[in-house]
């Protein structure tokens, strides 16, 4: 820390005279050399945490199995052409509706006589897309608001906590249905918006708790004494050390969002006909499951496997990141 003393007077006066405007050049200009050591330390520690985790993860079967499933489903979503020659809702023949699995139709056919295998392949894209995009938005909101609430405390914390409570208390299915009915179209965009609106509260509490735990650590105090701005402390010191549990919950959350999206599709208020998704297939299958169980089985298996993979992945990452549980 002695090495940094020469830089200290440069950052100090700037901090005292103009805390808000002065910090911007301070954060932009000084870090390269002056804070290199502190920054390097933090980066080194964070890297070694993730490095340790990776070292632990790559030896686990319960890490590689979900990764394999997700790669498969991810490829289905990105390039469905690799798996099936048929486009969405293409080559349907009502004369061969509701057939069981056979050589010509591996997964049988659906109510309109479309090939069920092609349908299941095309269903991967909206399902995965919504799961990942919703989680990314919710993650971003949770990180920003959780950081502000945990770091500043006081009225900011109270305001954010009450706001979280308001959304947390809304029943998910009913809340989502009310909003979706108000939308003229129920495309991927509308679904994403609704799921973010009702799902951003899950991660924020964890982020806030982590920030509070890190906020008063010695290295944060040291950075503050060295004259680092609030913004710099938050982004360079608190954030890297508070993020790991939130990332774990985010991974688990992708699975929950996918299940929630499928539930809304299933109820008929989610994605609509020309779209293809696993939840929508289950919605169309619901009146015929007793006589044609394959209509339920195939999308259900793919849906459950995908959700399961995200859950297992989250669990594996958590076990790797948290040495206490070993």
């Amino acid at each position: 820390m002695k090495i940094e003393d020469p830089a200290e007077p440069a950052a100090g006066p700037v901090q005292t005279t103009a805390p808000t405007t002065g910090t911007a050049p301070g954060a932009g200009g000084v870090p390269a050399e002056a804070v290199a050591e502190a920054g390097g330390l933090v980066a080194g520690r964070a890297a070694s945490l993730w490095h340790d985790a990776w070292y632990d993860l790559r030896r686990r079967a319960l890490f590689w199995a979900p990764v394999a499933v997700l790669l498969l489903v991810g490829t289905m979503a990105a390039v469905p052409g690799l798996f099936t020659g048929r486009g969405e809702n293409e080559g349907c023949d009502p004369n061969v509706a509701k057939l069981g699995p056979s050589g010509a139709h591996w997964f049988g056919t659906d109510l309109a006589g479309c090939d069920y295998y092609a349908h299941v392949v095309h269903g991967a894209r909206p399902t995965l897309l919504i799961g990942v995009v919703v989680t990314l938005f919710a993650f971003a909101i949770a990180v920003v608001l959780g950081m502000l609430a945990g770091y500043y405390g006081g009225p900011v914390d109270t305001l954010i906590a009450r706001l979280t409570d308001v959304f947390f208390g809304l029943p998910f299915v009913l809340g989502a249905t009310v909003i979706l009915v108000a939308f003229p179209g129920h495309g991927v965009g509308a679904m994403t918006l609704v799921l973010v609106l009702l799902g951003w509260t899950t991660m924020i509490r964890i982020m806030r708790g982590q920030v509070i735990a890190v906020r008063d650590a010695d290295y944060v105090q040291a950075a503050r004494l060295l004259g680092a701005s609030d913004r710099r402390i938050m982004t360079r010191h608190v954030l890297p050390n508070a993020l790991a549990p939130v990332i774990v919950v985010a991974t688990l959350n992708v699975g929950n969002v996918i299940a929630g999206e499928a539930t809304l599709d299933f109820l008929g208020v989610g994605l609509q006909y020309p779209e293809v998704s696993w939840g929508l297939q289950l919605n169309q299958a619901q009146s015929y499951v007793i006589d044609h169980p394959h209509l339920l089985a195939f999308p259900a298996v793919f849906l459950s496997l995908t959700v399961l993979s995200f859950l297992l992945l989250g669990d594996a990452v958590r076990d790797a990141l948290d040495p206490k549980l070993r």
Partner: protein, 308 residues
């Protein structure tokens, strides 16, 4: 203790107003004219429409409507539907169905979930533990409606052991299968929380002390380790009761139970705002109250927790 309870109650007040206002605005922002919806395609005479609008405060700004609604709510009046039916009457009998279903699911979570969790927690790293962890992960991954149809096919159609639709046989028989399906997700979380928390506490100093005093294993686990381990479980159970009531809609649909969820789902589509707002407001109230009770329970479970 009383000061703490009062503070929590005061905190719940803005949340209550916030949530109900939010749901109120969402519902009444629904496109379409509810008065026109009453008449279908036929035109509504202007004088009739005006009279109806005045009667249901539809001409006021949303905030004024909301204030009038809350005023009625505080005197126990949930308002009426646009066809003059009392909302409290429409929902009355349905609350019993939904509450019976939620309570069945909740009991199932509580009893089986904690039992499984204790079983796994005491045998950490062994076969029982692996079985419980694997089984609960699977249950979490399968969406509730898939589970519902599978259970209905298996135990209602192929091996008719339990009633699979309707409420003809009353509580508890008719509610067993739907209750188990609805509670399976929560059961998994309860079992996992109990397991982790118990396994952690079994290594605590006070448990070692209890063991060193020569207490029996049942007493050490039951009175010392489990009681403290139940705090995260009770928190979860509290939050979950609200989501069971609100999430019962899917299960009610599959098992054809005439509950609140079904009614609200229909009402949303028919733009019957008062019914939707009334039901959701009550759901939010239940959610807040259960959570308040849970917070106060902590002190009973863990003597180290003191409310100032």
């Amino acid at each position: 203790m009383w000061r703490y309870a009062l503070r929590r109650l005061l905190q719940a007040v803005p949340v209550f107003f916030g949530t109900t206002l939010l749901i109120y605005c969402m519902v009444f922002a629904l496109p379409g004219d509810p008065i026109q919806a009453l008449a279908g395609d036929k035109p509504v005479p202007e004088s009739v429409a005006q009279a109806l609008r005045a009667r249901y405060n539809l001409d006021d700004p949303v905030l004024v409507q909301y204030a009038k609604y809350l005023g009625g709510l505080l005197t126990g009046d949930l308002g009426e539907n646009y066809t003059g039916q009392k909302v409290s009457e429409m929902l009355g009998g349905r609350w019993t169905v939904t509450a019976s279903l939620a309570v069945t699911a909740w009991m199932f979570e509580l009893v089986i979930g904690i039992a499984l969790g204790v079983w796994a927690g005491l045998r950490r790293g062994r076969l029982a533990d692996t079985l419980v962890l694997g089984g609960t992960t699977l249950l979490i991954a399968v969406p509730v409606f898939v589970l519902g149809y599978t259970a209905q096919l298996a135990f209602g159609v192929h091996w008719p052991i339990l009633p699979s639709a309707g409420t003809d046989e009353g509580w508890p028989v008719s509610y067993l299968l739907p209750g188990i399906v609805l509670g399976s997700l929560g059961l998994s979380y309860v079992a996992r929380l109990t397991r982790t928390s118990l396994a952690e506490n079994l290594r605590a100093d006070y448990v070692r002390t209890a063991r060193a005093k020569g207490l029996s294993r049942v007493r050490v686990v039951g009175r010392h380790a489990l009681r403290n381990s139940l705090i995260p479980v009770v928190t979860y159970l509290g939050v979950d009761f609200g989501s069971l009531m609100g999430g019962a809609i899917v299960t009610e649909g599959i098992f054809n139970l005439p509950g609140v969820g079904q009614q609200v789902f229909q009402s949303i589509q028919l733009k019957e705002g008062p019914v939707v707002v009334g039901a959701v407001t009550l759901l939010v109230l239940i959610f807040l109250l259960v959570n308040l009770v849970v917070d106060l329970l902590y002190g009973l479970l863990d003597p180290r927790i003191r409310y100032e």
